[in-house]
């Protein structure tokens, strides 16, 4: 079996060999795999969850599931990809277990978040599009917005729109057909856009009424 050498020039068993040793009852072999992919799994969980405890739970669950399903791993396939599938599905399960917010409302925003939103939307569209700076308020607002989406919508939004995965890649990770991914993506966009439009309208009418109160003669911007 192929073995690599690490920087210290020691023989390093490859994933497949470690899987086989684990299946034969070698507990230490699986521990090597845990140390090899622990960081990657932890950061996959970070794509969906901000809190370290949640990401640790997902990591633990992923390795436990992998250990229990080790006999289903097909030799020759990438162990890392196999593990990633388990991790993303663990994240999806966790999203489904979470209490979903009933609706997104501007009234749920903290004052700072509201101010951030008003300032952002006061900019010309072009400038807003190219804005790179991040803000804690944007993070909090985004979390609230995403929490109002269904688990499927949330998952495809993050993987496709934010992380740039293809529909084929998402399909492979989730075990969904490509048409299923496309339908979910369509629905997710519609759901998110509906909320964003409400935010835009709300913020505009708020700033319009503010402008009216400040300067009754001012020309209202469209």
């Amino acid at each position: 079996m192929a073995e690599k050498r690490n920087s210290a020039n020691e023989l390093v068993p490859d994933d497949e060999e470690l899987v086989e040793r684990s299946l034969a009852g070698d507990a230490e072999a699986f521990e090597v795999l845990v140390r090899r992919y622990g960081r990657a799994i932890y950061n996959v969980a970070g794509r969906f969850f901000r809190q370290p405890e949640m990401r640790e739970d997902i990591t633990q669950e992923t390795f436990l599931k992998a250990y229990q399903a080790l006999h289903t791993y097909r030799r020759g396939a990438s162990f890392e990809r196999w593990l990633m599938k388990i991790a993303v599905n663990a994240c999806y399960d966790a999203l489904r277990r979470m209490q979903r917010r009933r609706e997104f409302s501007l009234a749920d925003l903290a004052e700072d978040e509201q101010t951030w939103l008003e300032e952002a939307l006061a900019k010309p569209a072009f400038e807003l599009f190219e804005q790179q700076q991040q803000s804690e308020n944007a993070v909090a607002l985004a979390e609230k917005l995403l929490a109002s989406l269904s688990p499927e919508d949330r998952l495809v939004m993050l993987l496709y729109e934010r992380d740039g995965l293809s529909t084929a890649e998402i399909g492979e990770l989730m075990g969904w057909s490509r048409s299923k991914v496309k339908i979910r993506l369509f629905r997710a966009r519609r759901a998110l856009d509906k909320r964003l439009r409400r935010i835009l309208q709300g913020a505009q009418s708020a700033s319009a009424s503010k402008a009216k109160a400040d300067e009754p003669e001012s020309r209202q911007e469209r």
Partner: protein, 166 residues
């Protein structure tokens, strides 16, 4: 640039993964269109907000706390102990079901035996008994001697030592 062109491009820009800048001539054409078309400007505003918010949910890749590995190891050890325990549980369940099957089989055989004893006349029963006890020569004698197969006759014949030869 028409509204359609703009919207098509927007679908591409919508993904937060795409780079934020729109360059050169395209930028000028876009700016010109947007200043004249509030509908497209509003659409871009929505798209921009979506990008900003989605990007805000990104978390930089970091190393997990070292304690995570110990935690995972402990959970795996627990799982190995559990699966070993459930192996013995399964073995016990298997042994128990084997015992039940054996008992059912015995009961079935006993039932067949009782049935035979009830249905078959005494003579035949003795003949069968003799066969079962492999006292073939005695059974043969009983059949071919043409003797009357009375119960006492058979019993006394069977009580006798089996003959050494025919």
């Amino acid at each position: 640039m028409t509204c359609r062109d703009i919207r098509k491009r927007m679908a591409m820009w919508a993904r937060a993964a795409s780079p934020g800048e729109i360059a050169g001539a395209e930028r000028e054409a876009l700016a010109a269109h947007l200043s004249a078309c509030p509908a497209c400007a509003e659409e871009l505003r929505l798209l921009a907000l979506k990008r900003i918010l989605l990007r805000a949910t990104r978390v930089p890749e970091v190393d997990p706390a070292p304690s995570l590995y110990a935690r995972v190891s402990a959970r795996l050890r627990q799982e190995r102990a559990r699966s070993l325990f459930s192996f013995w549980e399964a073995a016990r369940t298997f042994a128990a079901s084997v015992a039940v099957v054996a008992m059912l089989l015995l009961m079935l055989l006993a039932g067949v035996n009782i049935y035979i004893h009830q249905q078959i006349p005494v003579e035949r029963r003795d003949f069968i008994s003799a066969l079962m006890e492999r006292n073939f020569s005695e059974a043969e004698r009983l059949v071919f001697a043409g003797e009357e197969l009375s119960q006492e006759g058979v019993l006394s014949a069977l009580a006798a030592e089996p003959r050494e030869s025919r």
